[in-house]
Structures are given as structure tokens and as C-alpha cells.
Amino acid sequence: MPDRKEIEDVLAERHGAALQARIAEGVVGVMGLGGLGSAVAVALVRIGIGKLLLADYDVVELSNLNRQYYFADQIGLPKTVALRDTLLRINPYVSLEIINERLSEERIPFLFQGVDVLAECFDDPVMKPAALRAALTGLAGVGYVGASGMAGFGDNNRIVTRRIYPRVYLVGDAQAEVGPSQGLMAPRVGIAAHHQANQVLRLLLGVDEESE
């Protein structure tokens, strides 16, 4: 097993020392650990994020495995616990805080005070605007990357990242809703998740530009 310094050195060599120092200071909240949140967390841990706050109330189910970053031997475990185990296999030294509760608009500002960026990865369409309101009114200045519309197997390039306020972004096609006719599938949810992860990274590195 590599020690902490070996991992840090390799990341600094790959990404550049100055840039890596900023990533390593980053604190990111991930709200919802489904197809979006589990992939966002994995991507951020791989690049050496400083700390993640991982929030979900659910347990891993067989039906999650078509798109979420869990394994068959984790069925029945709380998603927070299963994902923590996986992330620690990628980097045993990353700082992880798990929040095993159902989030609400009222609780979000309290639970995520002090994070640099918040990733909204909920499945529930009611929690998506609620989280945006919570961030804008209760966590002034926080970076925010939400998501809406990534079901099915539609065109890759309709998944976009839009800047809606300074440091506030929404990813997705804004249309493809999960329903009886189209489910969520790993490829397209993964595209959206990695848009989110890259936008989180950009915010951590101080980039906040209007899309072209």
C-alpha cells in the first residue's frame, strides 16, 4: 500500500504542484449518492480532493448497479458507507465525512456550512430546486453544480453545463426525465456526472466563466 506522501507526490507530478495544492485544499459536499453523486465523488477522490461530505439516506439496491458506483457485494449497505469504503480503496488518506440522513431545504445550509463547492446529485426533482434555493439563500458565495435531465440514451452533446449565476451551474439537457419510457443508464448519467465533477474542479481552481 502506498503511503500518503507517495500518493501526493504522484498527483503533484501528474497535475502540477501548484494546481494540486489547490485541489488538496478543496472541500466539496455531495448531496445524493446515486448515479451522479457516486461518480462525482470517485472522480474527485481520484484527483486528490481534500475533503468530501457525502450525504444520502438510502441503501444500495440491485437496481442501482446499472449506473451507480457500487458493487453486488454491497447490496443492503447504506450508500454513504459503501461509497466511503470504495473511495478509501482509491485513496486511503482522503478525508471523508458521511451524512446518513434525508436532506431537506432547511438542513442543507446547516450541514454544508464551510464547503467550497456543493454538488447537487439528487434523483428527486423536488429536492433539486429546494437545494438550489438553500444554497443561494443559506450558503452565500458557495460554488454550486446541480443537474437536471440525463435519462435515456439521447444525444451526448445535449448534455451541457450552463452558468445560471456567478459560481452556480446546472448540468444536463434540462428535459430527459426519468419515467416509464426511459430509465437512467450508466453512460449518459456518467456524462452528466463528469460534467459536474469537472465544473466542481473548475470552481475549486477559481475558473468561473460564462459558457461560449
Partner: protein, 78 residues
């Protein structure tokens, strides 16, 4: 722009919703306007004249004449 310049059809008033002009009856509550658009109130983020409207105000919030409304609709899946 003065409010008067937005008046059009008799008895109606205009608002701007996501950069598009809309005519509504004076006194229209936000929740009624959303229903006309076919938008589920629980799945939409609303800003009116630069102010974020809380979900529990949608039923009582009356759209003012000339309001600039920004709606962000969310769909499920994640």
C-alpha cells in the same frame, strides 16, 4: 420601461417570463401562473425581479405588473 408600456389586451397585464412576454390577469398568484404553464410547482425554482421566491410563498405570491420572472424547471433522475 414604464409599467404602462406593457399594457396590451384589455384587463390583462404583461410580465416577462424567461425573456418571453406573457399576458396574465391582474392578481394572478404564482402557483396559478405555473399551473397555466403546466409546471409542477414543487419542481421549479422561481426568481421574481431578482428575488428568490420560497416554495411556501407560491400560493400567495401575486405577480406584479411588469414582473421579470425567471423559472428553472427540474426533471427527475440522478
Amino acid at each position: 420601461m414604464r409599467a404602462g408600456e406593457l399594457m396590451s389586451t384589455e384587463g390583462m397585464m404583461q410580465i416577462i417570463c424567461n425573456d418571453e412576454k406573457k399576458e396574465i390577469r391582474p392578481g394572478t398568484a404564482l402557483v396559478a401562473f405555473l399551473a397555466e404553464l403546466g409546471v409542477k410547482p414543487d419542481t421549479v425554482f422561481v426568481e421574481c425581479n431578482g428575488v428568490i421566491i420560497k416554495r411556501d410563498e407560491y400560493e400567495t405570491y401575486v405577480l406584479p405588473e411588469g414582473a421579470r420572472l425567471e423559472l428553472i424547471r427540474f426533471v427527475g433522475g440522478g
